[in-house]
């Protein structure tokens, strides 16, 4: 087992190196000089050069790249933001919590909703219940997150005024007691989590529904029935476990999708997370922040893939035995 994990970790090293290099090149080769952005056009070119020198942008690209890699590897220093001079790692650390909260809650919500509705639709397959759920889920599957978000915002925050429309906490958050703080978080996260989670739940739903339907038709379920095993046990222990497998292998695709979705949702609901930090950094040509955020996102994706592979081999004995035989 450990050798499999080690091999997969080693495998992902070139992926990370190439990914980081590509990001660096994209950022630095793109038109639009951050040096110019801080300038009044009427000022002299010398001042522009001073600014470029201060940010280290006047050197050849490969030296900039080498300096940057050296700093990141040996000092864990991603450089300071061009705008407020704070270290990138600090800026991102404060932006990480909202994104993790948002993406994590959305994933849990999507899993629970997708699995429950998927099973319900599968055991009632081709009835009115099944068709209604399937059509609603098809709608959510095709609905862009930004539209859903705007509609939720309009109806629940503006028209009905039930839930706050922006930010992770209220202004008076620090004066609340523990329970108050908790409900404050829930109130602020409810709509964003729904916006991010519903389309994802629809994806899970499709897999679970067809997986359970297929499993219910199979011989081993018939065998289990014949041995007199209870209906619920068959459903949750046998069918569900097998239909969860494709979802675990999907994790590698879901994590990038969640990050992309979080960008949109954070912009709509003004959550101070990674996505919004990234968007404003792109607009402002804040190179260190963009690079640090991309690397973090890239690591999250690689780690997600690793976790998916490992979980998969733990759950599905066939894969475990196969790799053992090969190694």
């Amino acid at each position: 087992m450990i050798s499999i994990i080690l091999k997969r970790v080693l495998d992902s090293v070139p992926t990370i190196i190439i990914g980081i290099t590509l990001t660096f090149l994209i950022v630095h080769l793109a038109p639009g000089d951050p040096g110019i952005r801080f300038l009044d056009p009427s000022q002299s070119p010398e001042i522009q050069q001073v600014i470029q020198k201060r940010f280290g942008l006047n050197e050849p690209l490969y030296i900039q790249y080498w300096n940057w890699v050296k700093r990141v590897l040996f000092h864990f220093d991603f450089g300071n933001s061009f705008y407020n001079g704070k270290p990138s790692s600090e800026v991102l650390r404060s932006a990480l919590l909202p994104t993790i909260l948002l993406a994590g809650c959305a994933l849990v919500f999507a899993l629970i909703t997708g699995i429950l509705l998927g099973i319900l639709a599968a055991i009632r397959s081709n009835t009115f219940t099944d068709r209604t759920i399937t059509i609603i889920m098809m709608l959510f599957f095709s609905t862009p997150a930004f539209w859903l978000g705007i509609m939720f915002l309009g109806v629940f925050s503006i028209q009905l005024g039930w839930l706050p429309s922006s930010h992770l906490t209220s202004l008076y958050h620090d004066q609340l007691n523990t329970i108050g703080r908790f409900t404050d978080y829930i109130k602020h996260l409810f709509l964003p989590v729904l916006t991010l989670g519903l389309p994802l739940a629809a994806t899970f739903f499709r897999y679970i529904r067809s997986g359970v339907i297929e499993a219910l038709r199979s011989d081993y379920i018939l065998g289990a029935r014949a041995r007199g095993i209870g209906h619920n046990k068959i459903l949750f222990r046998y069918c569900l476990k097998n239909s969860l497998l494709p979802i675990i292998s999907l994790l590698g695709v879901i994590i990038p999708a969640l990050l992309s979705g979080a960008v949109i949702v954070e912009v709509i609901f003004s959550l101070p997370g990674m996505g919004r930090t990234m968007v404003s950094a792109v607009f402002g040509r804040d190179y260190p922040i963009i690079l640090a955020a991309s690397i973090l996102a890239f690591f999250a994706v690689v780690a997600g893939n690793l976790i998916a592979d490992i979980t998969y081999s733990i759950i599905d004995p066939r894969i475990r035995y196969q790799t053992r035989k090969n190694s």
Partner: protein, 278 residues
Amino acid sequence: MKRIVDFICSDKSLYVGSILIGIIIIFSLIGPSLSPYNYSSQNLSEALQSPSVSHPLGTDYYGRDVLARMMHGGQITLGIALLATTIAVLIGMIIGLISAFVGGWLDRILMRLVDIMLGFPKLFIILLVIGMGYSSIGLIILFLAIFSWMEIARIVRSEVLVIKEQLYIKSAEAIGLRRRRIIFIHILPNVMGTIIVSSVLLISTLILIESSISFLGLGVQPPNASWGTILTEGRFDPIGTWWISVFSGIFIIAAIIGFNLIGDGLRNILDPKFTGNS
């Protein structure tokens, strides 16, 4: 013509999807010539009118007719998605074929590249690329294509690897047919079905991504409008100017559902083994 109609009617998803997409295409292509309004002409005295007889979908902040803008937006949105898909499919097919036929180290490198590209959070990276560069429609199409060919390449490679080993290809090689002929006449037609299904599904993904980028303000720039750009204009007052965001959203959803249904339907027909849902 009758054969095409029969083919479309043979599957319910395909039928509904084709009708939806047909309506949208006719609406965007023929609509502008029937509409009395131009998509970009402003009329400030009629700004922000809710839907009425003269403006069925209302007007926006500059008094432009939303219906006329939706028709124009349809051309841009669908045009971008279709062109980008075509380029992505071409790149994917070429790389998949090379990977399957050359094999060895080139195959390993190409497949590793596919892994890396799939690992990028797509929207994140397209946002980065377009946000850093100039956002012209041509560049958007190009970047969408560059970040979407991977799945096609994977599918083509794995299908070709299977077909390559089959007896009729072996015998084609044995009688000395040229490789180009084998690829284009004997192998590609057999992979085409799968390619078509995944490219139709890719169209709907690209519509989604393009409207997301335009929604963030980095995509199609005014006075041009894609559905995503129009949606952004209604975003700041979802209640007071509900018609802008609601109608543009409905068009985006209808197009995505339409292409998804067509893709599902084609898959049901081409691959009867697929148990399929919806």
